[in-house]
Every structure is written in structure tokens, then in C-alpha cells.
């Protein structure tokens, strides 16, 4: 066992264990905190694969933004010490069969397939390359999705404020 392998297995174990805990935890606030641990471990995976910018975005946007939003909505909608009802046996059975069959089917298919890596030279994943490509309109440019995403975020912002406001009676 070498260093990266040990780190990968720690992160993978954390991701799997905490995601299962966040599904089965009956205290909803704890489920949100377990989800936070999963997201932080995933940021660690991105760091391992040399995508530092993506890891930083994952930490800021998911761990800093979405989990905080979820915790706010938990505090707004439920009692802090109330427990969720236990899932029904039939739901548990159907969900478990779906999950196990899906994992088995996908894993068997993936492990039989041989992936062929591209032989071309790797590009860097530094901030300069990312910034240039994000604002570029050439072959490796992503200016259009960037602009579309900005419009989508504005629409989501206005829409969520409008939906959540109190209606006048």
C-alpha cells in the first residue's frame, strides 16, 4: 500500500459510510451533517485528481452553500429533536433491491469494459488555463455554457425569492 492508495481508500470509505449514514439517519440534522462529510471527502478526491479549482468550488458551493441552505430549511420546517418516521418495510425492500441490483449490474458492466486513454499531451489544470478556456469561444472554449449558466442562476434567484415570499391574503 502506498500513500495515494491509502488516502484514496480512506476517502472512499468515508464517502460510502457517511452517504449510507445520511440516508438511514433518523435525525434529519445529523443526516445533513453526514452529507457535509461526504461532500468534503469528495473535494479530497478532486484534489487527488489534480483539479484544485473544482475542489475549491466543491467546498465553497456545496459545503458552504447548499448544506447551509439545507440546514436552514430543516430549522425552518421541523422541530430540532423530532425523529423522522422509520421507512416502511416495503419501501426499504424495494429501495434495497433497486440499489443492490443497480450496483451489481453497473459494476459488472464497467469491470468488463476496457477504457482506452487518449494518447495526446495533457493540458494543465491551473487557474490560468481554466480561466482562458472558460472565456474562450474557440474549439476548447466554454463561453456559451458559462453565459447560459449565469442567466440560469439569475432566473433561479428571482424565482426562488418569488416562490418563497409570503402571499398577500
Amino acid at each position: 500500500m502506498t500513500g495515494p492508495k491509502i488516502i484514496f481508500f480512506i476517502l472512499a470509505a468515508a464517502i460510502v459510510v457517511f452517504s449510507i449514514l445520511s440516508i438511514f439517519s433518523r435525525r434529519i440534522l445529523r443526516a445533513a451533517i453526514y452529507l457535509l462529510f461526504v461532500l468534503v471527502a469528495m473535494a479530497g478526491l478532486y484534489y487527488m485528481m489534480n483539479f484544485q479549482f473544482l475542489a475549491a468550488v466543491q467546498l465553497m458551493l456545496y459545503a458552504g452553500g447548499i448544506v447551509v441552505l439545507i440546514i436552514f430549511s430543516i430549522l425552518l420546517t421541523s422541530q430540532i429533536d423530532s425523529k423522522l418516521q422509520a421507512p416502511k418495510g416495503s419501501h426499504l425492500l424495494a429501495g434495497g433491491i433497486t440499489a443492490i441490483a443497480g450496483i451489481a449490474l453497473s459494476a459488472i458492466t464497467i469491470l468488463q469494459f476496457t477504457f482506452k486513454p487518449s494518447q495526446e499531451n495533457a493540458v494543465g489544470t491551473d487557474m490560468r488555463t481554466i480561466g482562458l478556456q472558460l472565456m474562450n469561444t474557440d474549439v476548447q472554449g466554454y463561453a456559451l455554457p458559462f453565459e447560459v449558466i449565469s442567466v440560469l442562476l439569475l432566473a433561479a434567484l428571482v424565482g426562488s425569492i418569488f416562490i418563497a415570499q409570503k402571499k398577500k391574503v
Binding site: T2, P4, K5, F8, V16, I23, I28, A31, A32, L35, V38, L45, Y46, M48, M49, N50, F51, L54, L61, Y62, G65, I66, L69, I70, S73, T77, S78, L84, Q85, P87, A94, G95, T98, A99, G102, I103, S106, A107, I110, L111, F115, P117, S118, E120, A122, V123, T125, I130, Q140, P145, I149, L152, L153, A155, A156, S160, I161, I163, A164, K166
Partner: protein, 107 residues
């Protein structure tokens, strides 16, 4: 760091498969809107691992998977904001966030 020699691509994909189906199971077994939203976030993140792993292992000559994951994150943020606005609105109307009790379309 040469990750390819240490950790095969299959490990990453199997990990993301497990997380995806755990998230799906969470959506199926839970009846609370917020926990269902958390299951959806897990599924989106599993897909992101796949994009990033394919980018790093198979096509390091361009950054397509990286940008796809970035845009998935932005859409996940928008989706979470809208979903939470809807959940708060549903809570005002029905006084609960359990999907079993939200069964009226019109007031």
C-alpha cells in the same frame, strides 16, 4: 503524482456507482422532502466524480469533464435554492414536509 499507476479508473467508477445508488435508495425510502433533496444531491455528486475521473484518466488533453462538473454544480445550486423555496412554501400551506400528507393540488 501519477495516479493512474496507483488507483485504476475502475475504483473511481465503482465508488461513484455505489454513491449514486445509495442516493437513489434515499430518494426511494424517505418520505421527507428535505431528505429526498439530500438523496438527489448525493446522486449529482456521484455523477460529478464520474465526469472528473474520466477527464483525468482518459482525456487529459482537454478539460471537458472538468467544465461539465463545474456546470453541474451550478445547476445543483440553482436546483437546491428553488427546491428549498418550494419546501418552505409547502410547509406554509400544509404545515408538514412529508410527501404523503401533501396530496391536494388546489385550495
Amino acid at each position: 503524482m501519477n495516479l493512474q499507476a496507483e488507483i485504476p479508473l475502475d475504483y473511481m467508477i465503482v465508488l461513484s456507482t455505489i454513491v449514486f445508488f445509495v442516493g437513489l435508495m434515499g430518494v426511494l425510502i424517505r418520505r421527507n422532502l428535505i431528505t429526498m433533496l439530500m438523496g438527489i444531491e448525493l446522486m449529482l455528486n456521484a455523477v460529478n466524480i464520474n465526469f472528473v475521473a474520466f477527464n483525468h484518466y482518459l482525456f487529459p488533453n482537454r478539460l471537458e469533464g472538468h467544465f461539465f462538473a463545474l456546470i453541474v454544480m451550478a445547476i445543483a445550486a440553482a436546483e437546491a435554492a428553488i427546491a428549498i423555496a418550494l419546501i418552505i412554501n409547502i410547509y406554509r400551506q400544509f404545515n408538514t414536509v412529508s410527501v404523503d400528507d401533501v396530496d391536494e393540488l388546489k385550495y
